[in-house]
């Protein structure tokens, strides 16, 4: 009897193993269903919607996809409302890592590890380990304020990442024998000297400046972190704002001077689009922003008036600090796809997510749809990708220098938008004061900001 039982058990186990091994993703499983997708206007979005790939996905799965595209400045406001409605619309949405801190802790985002690890739901060729750990890890969090990213559930899958460095008009620099700046003093002097470089109205350096969190996270946050600044620290289970530190004040003081003396007089209305397009139009000589912002102005040929003339370098370090380019702490932004936890078509949504983050699609987007900064090692190291992205002068070299120290430099916490927007408003006040009077009391402004942000986060418990 025992023998018979053992034989039956072995047989059952063997059958189960065979069944498991032969588990395949049924791409037609959700045929006839519908998916609502919300996308931010970006090259990553264009790769999904503008090259016939969406139609290919619909033909493969039989799922009807409806999508909307919204410019970045209003995208997250629209997404906030959609997710807060808790009705499952959109099923899939583009998001950044900072948003995960807000959305995941509110319960809007579906944890994805169960989908990724299920061979019946995910193709073996999907190869999740192919994603750079540092990039995919930024979308992984345990939903405890103050805890670093990289631990907890995987809430989204990257479409592309952005580091922050300096793009410049390589052709003009070369023709005029201008050396690249290495520290902040040199950058300030260079930016000032470049005012009027390409006729009246042209200026040195373009950076973002609206009353919005997006002003802080690119160049400002990169230099802020390299300078040694911190936004918050956890003390006795509570978040304490550190924007009144010596480093924070010195860096902000420098940034204000850089904006007033070397940037556009209309800086306070500059978003990603204005900053990038001014480099492309030959109005700005330098751009301190996301790596791919300048890339989209440079590639493909004809993308802007200065396409083909742009180059990149890692950035600058604080003057007299003794640091080198390798010490630059570039802040990371990751555009990714997440799933609404209230979606009533999660299976179909995962197929969409899987398809548009697969190695095949990412190779296509990286090589044919101008999506630089691929988060997949297999794509980033492919010859096809390197030959295209590497053709942009200094692009890959700058990334190589920055990648070891690049991470999200903000402290994860759910009130990110409120605290960082308030920070941007203070920066605007300081720039206005400096522009009007020729001086500004940065220390007083940062101390007032610290007090305001301490109140804003007072109900956050870090446990």
């Amino acid at each position: 009897m025992k023998k018979l039982f053992a034989m039956v058990l072995v047989l059952v186990m063997a059958l189960a193993m065979v069944a498991g091994a032969s588990a395949e993703v049924n791409w037609k499983e959700f045929e006839g269903t519908k998916l609502q997708v919300m996308l931010n206007q970006h090259n990553y979005q264009k790769a999904v919607t503008d090259y016939g790939k969406l139609e290919e996905f619909e033909a493969l799965t039989g799922i009807d996809v409806e999508y909307s595209v919204t410019p970045e400045e209003n995208y997250f406001d629209k997404l906030n409302i959609g997710l807060a409605a808790r009705n499952g619309d959109p099923d899939i949405f583009m998001t950044g890592a900072y948003q995960v801190w807000d959305y995941a802790s509110a319960g809007y985002m579906e944890p994805l590890e169960d989908y990724i690890n299920d061979p019946a739901k995910t193709e073996a060729s999907y190869n999740f380990d192919d994603f750079y750990a540092g990039v995919v890890g930024t979308l992984c969090w345990d939903c405890i304020a103050g805890h670093p990213v990289g631990e907890g559930s995987q809430y989204a899958i990257p479409m592309g990442y952005e580091l922050n460095n300096i793009a410049y008009n390589w052709k003009y620099f070369e023709e005029n024998g201008i050396a690249l700046p290495e520290d902040t003093d040199q950058l300030l002097e260079l930016s000032k000297s470049l005012n009027g470089w390409n006729g009246e109205g042209s200026y040195g350096i373009a950076v973002r400046g609206t009353r919005n969190w997006a002003t802080i996270h690119p160049g400002y946050m990169t230099l802020f972190s390299t300078w040694g600044g911190k936004d918050f620290e956890v003390e006795d289970g509570r978040l304490v704002c550190k924007l009144d530190s010596e480093e924070a004040i010195a860096m902000t003081d420098y940034w204000v001077k850089l904006v007033v003396e070397g940037s556009s007089p209309q800086w306070a209305t500059f978003t990603w689009y204005e900053a990038g397009s001014h480099l492309g139009a030959g109005v700005a000589a330098l751009l301190y922003d996301a790596t791919c912002n300048g890339y989209f102005q440079n590639y493909p040929a004809g993308a802007s008036a200065e396409s083909g003339n742009l180059g990149w370098f890692p950035g600058v370090v604080p003057a007299g600090s003794g640091l080198t380019a390798a010490d630059i702490k570039s802040n990371v932004w990751v555009w990714s796809l997440g799933m609404n936890s209230y979606s009533d078509n999660k299976g179909g949504a995962w197929l969409f997510l899987q398809y548009f983050t697969s190695p095949e699609f990412m190779l296509f987007s990286g090589t044919e749809a101008a999506c630089a900064d691929s988060p997949r090692a297999s794509v980033a190291e492919s010859e096809a990708y390197k030959s295209i992205v590497g053709a942009s002068y200094g692009y890959l070299e700058a990334l190589e220098v920055l990648l070891p120290n690049a991470t999200i430099q903000f402290t994860p916490q759910p009130y990110f938008f409120e605290t960082t927007t308030t920070w941007a408003a203070t920066l605007q006040d300081l720039v206005e004061e400096y522009r009007t009077t020729g001086a500004c009391d940065t220390a007083a402004a940062m101390k007032a900001l610290k007090a305001e942000l301490d109140i804003a986060v007072e109900d956050i418990v870090c446990e």
Binding site: A84, D102, T210, H278, F417, T436
Partner: protein, 343 residues
Amino acid sequence: MGLNKNKATNKEGGAALATDLNVVPLKNRIRPYLIVAPALLITIGILIPFGMAIYYSLTTYTFRRPIADFVWFRNWIRMFQAKDFWNAVWVTVRYAFWATLVEMLLGLGIAMLLGNTNNRFSRILRVALIFPLMVAPVIGTIIWQLMLSHGVGIIDKFLNLLGIYGMQWGASKKTAMLTVVMIDVWVNCPFVIILILAGIQSLPKSPFESAKIDGGSGWFNFMNLTLPMLKPSILIALLFRLMAALQEFGIIFSLTKGGPGDTLMSLSVTAYTTGYMYQKFSNALPYILVLWYIVNKCASFIVEKWRISQYQAAGKDVEVEKKQRFWHKFIKSKDAGSAAKGA
């Protein structure tokens, strides 16, 4: 006997007829309700969200944590204590004042010019002036942003020719209000022009002809004939523009998001930022309700002025009318009082 029987039958028939006459057919009975129903539904449709807004302003409801714990007036007290609130009120009032003032003066001036001329140019201008009205305010703002853009915008280039460089427009605290008001005027002034122009074209000709015979100057005619008779049209334009300017959101938000600093953080922009960007819905609602109160009071005031101006334009004595209204109200309240006593 037979006669008596006939009498009795007639009596019954008469009673039945009387009863029939008293019975109102169903369709006649429900007609008043059907007529009122759409208005009632719309009123309910307005009152439900309004009531909900008041309720949620007294709770802790946020999009992140959709639980409405009742906290009474905590959100209101915090709002009144915050300097952001008083700044928002001041920005809202200043914006509404300047935008409405410029639009009314410019609108009246252009309407007068167009109303008094009838050549090809004025006819083309009447059509062309409507174009900005067809543009959504946000699109209009983007167009202006591009035109004003430093180094590339057409207006910036034109100013460069005049030797003016580096205009900051919406990027400076000094010029941000001017810039948004300028865009508002461009988008909405045609609305004022159309309304006042319609008023001008409907003015009777005889008073002007009499004034002409009596040798009245243009200024005299304008001050004593045109303006008083146009007052209802002007007040209607003022009502719509002031209400919209107090609530303005699209132009300010798409140009500066309320910046630089808090320069353009009006009540509606502050409410939007708090409610949708920061997801603190219950904290945003008091701002909106205060805005509603301000708009309501301003609108009521202008409507009252408009009513008076209509009497004046019709040549009626406003004082007599006021007295009549007073006595009408008084008698009505007395009747209601005695009816209540009788009951």
